[in-house]
Subunit: 454 residues, 2 copies
Amino acid sequence: MADITEQASDTVEAWLKQDSAIDPQKAPRLQALLDEVPLQELIAIVERQNAIRAALALRLLPRRKSIVVFDALDAKHQADIIDELGNADVYEFFDELEPEDRVALLDELPAEIADRLLRSLTKSKRDVTGVVLGYTKGSVGRRMSPEVPGIHPEMSVEEALRTLRAKADELETIYAVPITRADRRLVGVVTLREIFTAEEGTTIGDIMQSPIYANANDDAEETARWFLPLDILALPIVDDSDRLVGLLTWDDAIDIVEAEDSEDSARAGGTEALQQPYLSTPLLKLVKSRIVWLLVLAVSALLTVRVLDAFEDTLAQAVVLSLFIPLLTGTGGNTGNQAATTVTRALALGDVRGRDLLAVLWRELRVGMLLGAVLGLAGLGLATVVYGVDIGLVIGSTLFLICSISATVGGLMPIVAKTIGADPAVFSNPFISTFCDATGLIIYFLIAKSVLGL
Amino acid sequence: MADITEQASDTVEAWLKQDSAIDPQKAPRLQALLDEVPLQELIAIVERQNAIRAALALRLLPRRKSIVVFDALDAKHQADIIDELGNADVYEFFDELEPEDRVALLDELPAEIADRLLRSLTKSKRDVTGVVLGYTKGSVGRRMSPEVPGIHPEMSVEEALRTLRAKADELETIYAVPITRADRRLVGVVTLREIFTAEEGTTIGDIMQSPIYANANDDAEETARWFLPLDILALPIVDDSDRLVGLLTWDDAIDIVEAEDSEDSARAGGTEALQQPYLSTPLLKLVKSRIVWLLVLAVSALLTVRVLDAFEDTLAQAVVLSLFIPLLTGTGGNTGNQAATTVTRALALGDVRGRDLLAVLWRELRVGMLLGAVLGLAGLGLATVVYGVDIGLVIGSTLFLICSISATVGGLMPIVAKTIGADPAVFSNPFISTFCDATGLIIYFLIAKSVLGL
């Protein structure tokens, strides 16, 4: 199978890239080809196209398939594509989305289009969408499925099965079942598997377990992170009076975590996240995602010019000192990055929390000193052989101090950011490099001046 | 609820940190406290403890809870903890793991312990574990659940429901059901929901859909990445004759992706992934995860010393040139990092593939030139005001060239790595910085020599 479909998908991509693909004569052949491509490959192809070509592909696909593909795209990409689709298509795609995906798409659209789309829904669909829209961005409520099954503890398992069967079409999941009392208060959870394998005659109350749940106003990322490792299919979401308002399903939790990981990864490299696939991102959006950071970093780097300016006399007396500037600042930056990357990831995963500040400080200081001892001895040896013992001593002791300080600062910065309510990844690797550069240079010249007696 | 459990979990952590917690007199109180802490919080607490304290907490927990907690830990952490547990506990924890989790743990254990544990299993459990062990590391087969339900197309939905009910205990999932012929060939898939809502009297063959599946020898990361966005609960895995051998469940797919993202994130910062929570990682393991990279990078940075050495005369004639070294190399490194981070993430997500090399080259060249134009003009202006028009011209044109080259090289390196079969993240940010440093310095001095006539 693999060979034929790979050929088909290559051909489809090549055709989409030529404008001639829009040629109505070729459309039927492209359509036939698209039909041969398996679903996961179709999604991958459409993800890589810009909005015009993605819209073309979606129009050529059989309706059921195009809805599944559209559903799998990022909300930003969906919003771009909507601009290129006819109204009828747009209304249908929008109608078929889950309420929480509909809200994610609305967030990316201009207000008047969002309004028009909302008005195109039936009243009941508009109502469930409204529930999700009522919660603030970044909260669990904004990402939950607002449809709940209404299963009560006093129901027999047979009754529960009948109810789930009857409501299966409107529910996003029937596998993880929250149990509520008549006043909608959450009292338990049960899986379809448990209902299914229970003895006849048992009630739901007999087999339900005490619920693990979250509040609709909780942070979406934090909730998704602790919920996923529990291997539960859906997490009940309650309001402040413990009344069930929705479910966070595993697939929505994955989307949340994936988006946050992409954002952390982007920030670590000193860019903003694209929020859509690289190849379908317009060129100017790429520039925009990078230029602000680059300018901020360049301005911070002016600090290093200032530091060096202050030591210009020392430099003029011993030009040899300038040879080691990139090596020393680089090593400091690298050590700081290593610590920052490790701690930022640990914060994201919840392995480290704000109150662990002192524990991290103490770990990173010791790690930095050990790394500094190894590099410092290597530097001492090498520099002594080539440039003499004085330069050797300067380089060795500078490396030791730079590593100790950079690891400590790099490890603490993400925690400090989190404590003051900023994104830990804001202190990105480039930012820490720049900070370590300036500190490292000051240490370097102070040591050089005292050792060389300048 | 939140306040009481937060207090309880704080107290538990504080107690575990004191060695006196092992005091048998205090154990019952710790046990009582542990019982108040919700499951997700228990997992978070145990994840943060070193092996000795984690083993203590696991021993104090009620057996069912401790099994769930142990199951949620990373395999590396599990292996450390096993050293600290009594044999009876170890055998029971090991026995309760899913076959694929058992294999992940075995991979982290010394051969003789792994052997002993395997021999402690019943024959049927040893056999299913053996199926998974038979596939190479990094393949889907190594991560799949080897239990399959044996549902055939000619079965009625009632028969299928009865079969699933009977086998529910041994199956990891009954929600996504692969359909096989008598010779075990995969012919379709159906969800429990579809079986459940089907009309009486229909056969499985009537309602099953054509299967999306993977081969057991496929790469685990790639498969998990394309499978998760499809929002399917389990992916059928087949052997080379299209016979069903297992299922990749959504929770195992998440573990695979999470581990790979942690590895990419670590590499981007120039370290090796810890594969276990930061605070429970021994100090020397932290040093080990960083020192090799740091030494490699320091050795590559010797290149910059060589470049500067070659231009020492130029530097001696115009010491002012040395003031800009960190600014210029830093900007080059940042631009390269931005491109590398973006493309590495796009490769991991499958948005960019090897054959997109030219498309990426062309995008990054244009992005780099645009970034370089902005920074170059800013540099030209600022440097001219402070240091005169000659230096201004040198800085401006160097920034333009450095940005153009760094973005292009930074964008291509991950793709080149992938094409030659290496991990794209091996060309980490620090590595690209070091490369950009050396290139940038050469450009800088060549331009300076020709503009200043040195």
